[in-house]
């Protein structure tokens, strides 16, 4: 018995890596979604090269001009070039949301793994998660922003509080399954420390659901960040953010439709790209849930 216990090794993810990559690229949804996101990231990164204007550059004579060859998406109420502002806004919106997704995955892993491994901790942590998830996400975000005041850092903080619990739950339920596997029992009987078992043997197997869920959080964070900035409690002006531009656009909705359509289009493309990628990732990385869902 002991000798067989010694030969049991956890499945090594590296052996399957090439195969997984091929499957990821074989999914039309991931390719399409990934292409959309890559396009938006490229626009954000190369904004200064694509546009001859600055995001804060005002030309009073050019106020509220419709789209033209010079101003692709028109200009806003201060005569700023909208495409430029949306491109720089992509840095803010995508940057904030990606940070939120990354932090949520990290905190979700930490909380979910320890909760799954230590039953007593589980009760406390999961009740906190339940309570935070009991709040409708947009309301919790608004309430936290009301308390902390509008700033980019506070938006990130508020959204992490809103989204990390769902990741903790995802990671925990995946970890609970892994914890019962024979190889974990074998590790334990070999005298491996909890730290080693949790991070080297359980954690890698919860990564796929965490990444899938993280992709959806990324999408959701874009929506909530835009809503917060639109309501004036998110990223404060004059920093360009998609929600902020929409707020200016709402004031000018009778005269300048392009101020609503431009940033709106970018939000939809970003969220659609991420939802497509998330659905695709779930199909490839997590075939069991797909079978249940279909």
């Amino acid at each position: 018995m002991a000798s067989t216990g010694l030969t049991i090794a956890p499945p090594r993810p590296s052996r399957r890596r090439g195969q997984t990559l091929r499957r990821l690229l074989g999914s039309r949804m991931i390719v399409l979604g990934g292409a959309l996101i890559t396009l938006l990231v490229l626009i954000a990164v190369f904004a200064p090269l694509i546009s001859p204007f600055g995001p804060y550059e005002m030309v009073v004579q050019q106020r509220l001009k419709p789209p033209s060859a010079l101003h692709w998406f028109g200009t806003d109420n201060f005569g700023r070039d909208l495409f430029t502002r949306i491109a720089y806004g992509a840095r803010v919106s995508l940057g904030v949301s990606f940070t939120v997704a990354l932090l949520s995955v990290a905190i979700g892993m930490l909380v979910g793994l320890y909760a799954a491994y230590f039953p007593l901790l589980d009760h406390v942590l999961m009740r906190i998660c339940d309570a935070l998830m009991a709040f409708p996400s947009i309301l919790l975000a608004i309430a936290i922003m009301a308390a902390l005041g509008p700033s980019m850092g506070n938006v990130i903080l508020a959204l992490v509080v809103v989204f990390a619990p769902s990741l903790a739950r995802t990671v925990r339920s995946a970890a609970l399954v892994v914890r019962e596997q024979t190889y974990v029992e074998a590790m334990r009987s070999l005298g491996a420390s909890s730290l080693r078992i949790i991070w080297l043997h359980i954690a890698p197997n919860t990564l796929s659901p965490a990444i899938t869920q993280g992709t959806f959080v990324f999408a959701e964070a874009i929506i909530v960040e835009a809503a917060l900035s639109f309501l004036g409690v998110g990223v404060p002006p004059p920093a360009p953010s998609w929600g902020g531009i929409l707020f200016d656009g709402k004031v000018a909705i009778f005269t300048a439709w392009w101020m609503t359509v431009g940033p709106g289009l970018f939000i939809i493309l970003a969220v659609l790209g991420l939802n497509l990628s998330g659905d695709g990732l779930r199909d490839v990385l997590d075939p069991n849930t797909v079978k249940a869902a279909k």
């Binding site: 309570a131 919790l140 309430a143 009301a146 835009a226 709402k250 939000i267 659609l272």
Partner: protein
């Protein structure tokens, strides 16, 4: 069943406790003195001290929490110095517009989603199916406030069919009441419509593969009878659950949409209060909506347990 209900109610207690802690701390998370923040820069020290005293902020934190919690049990959510009325009263006045909006949104979602979901399931794998599911994914990717802005642009600014924003109470007549709510309800309902359509499709697919459907077909029943009377009925339980949960989401999600369309509902009350730092209203409003949200979800789950015995047995 009784055990299941008791268990679910007991599970609610720790959640409610932490929810109350979070809502309570909203006012204490503010950097600096909340009383000074509420009164603005022009306030004198005497005014600030007076407000601190009225809000009970000069007492120890634990005592403040107990006082606040005790008030909740008496439906006392505090007093809004900005609106010069009790918070509970302000909330009560805002319930009807939000409920009307959420109900209309739910109505739009249900009447469109179920036929579309059924159609996609029946034509599984065809162009219709792909198109419908693709559209629903697109629908889920449009945030409701953005859709609201687009709808205003199309139907209010360009076509001038419906008002840009505003609200008429039900007393003004059904049509004037609905006229103002159509665009916000569409904006709010689309995401739920997409979700319900997807759930209808997957639930129908599961049922359409069963033997009793084959048997119904073998008996020579007409296809629409098989689909609507035999399959849809059995596929309905998960659909009902998602509809129940969606209503909670609609009530909560109304915040941004109400602000765009200037509907005097609960969400708008909270958003406006954020701007004027009226913390007691923010606390009361967020707590109220969260409770409603929790109760709707609990009710849905209990109903699910009542209809489908597998649920309550499985979770025990």
């Amino acid at each position: 069943m009784r055990e299941y209900i008791i268990k679910r109610l007991l599970m609610l207690i720790p959640v409610l406790f932490i929810v109350s802690l979070v809502v309570f701390s909203i006012i204490h998370l503010t950097p600096g003195d909340p009383a000074a923040v509420m009164l603005g820069e022009t306030a004198t020290q005497a005014e600030i001290d007076a407000l601190r005293q009225r809000l009970g902020l000069d007492q120890p934190l634990f005592g403040q929490y107990l006082n606040w919690l005790g008030g909740l049990f008496r439906f006392d959510l505090g007093y809004s110095y900005f609106m010069r009325q009790p918070v509970a009263e302000a909330i009560r006045d805002r319930i009807v517009p939000t409920t009307s909006l959420a109900l209309l949104a739910e109505f739009f979602a249900i009447v469109t989603a179920i036929p579309l979901g059924v159609a996609a399931a029946v034509r599984r794998g065809t162009v219709t199916d792909t198109a419908l599911m693709g559209t629903s994914l697109l629908g889920m990717s449009i945030p409701s406030f953005l859709l609201g802005l687009f709808l205003v642009l199309i139907f209010a600014v360009w076509l001038r069919w419906l008002p840009v924003a505003g609200y008429a109470p039900l007393q003004a007549g059904l049509w004037p009441h609905l006229r103002y709510l159509i665009l916000p309800a569409l904006a709010l309902g689309l995401i739920q419509m997409a979700l319900i359509a997807r759930m209808t499709r997957s639930s129908m697919l599961e049922v359409l593969n069963t033997n009793y459907i084959n048997a119904a077909r073998a008996r020579g029943l007409r296809e629409w009878l098989v689909v609507y009377r035999h399959a849809l009925r059995n596929a309905f339980i998960p659909i009902l659950t998602i509809i129940g949960h969606s209503f909670g989401v609609l009530v909560a999600g109304a915040a941004v949409v109400e602000t765009i369309f200037n509907i005097p509902g609960l969400g708008q009350l909270i958003v406006n209060s954020v701007g004027r730092r009226d913390y007691t209203v923010i606390q009361g409003g967020v707590l109220f909506i969260t409770l409603i949200y929790l109760l709707i979800n609990l009710g849905t789950d209990l109903l699910y347990g009542l209809i489908d015995p597998r649920v309550r047995l499985g979770r025990r």
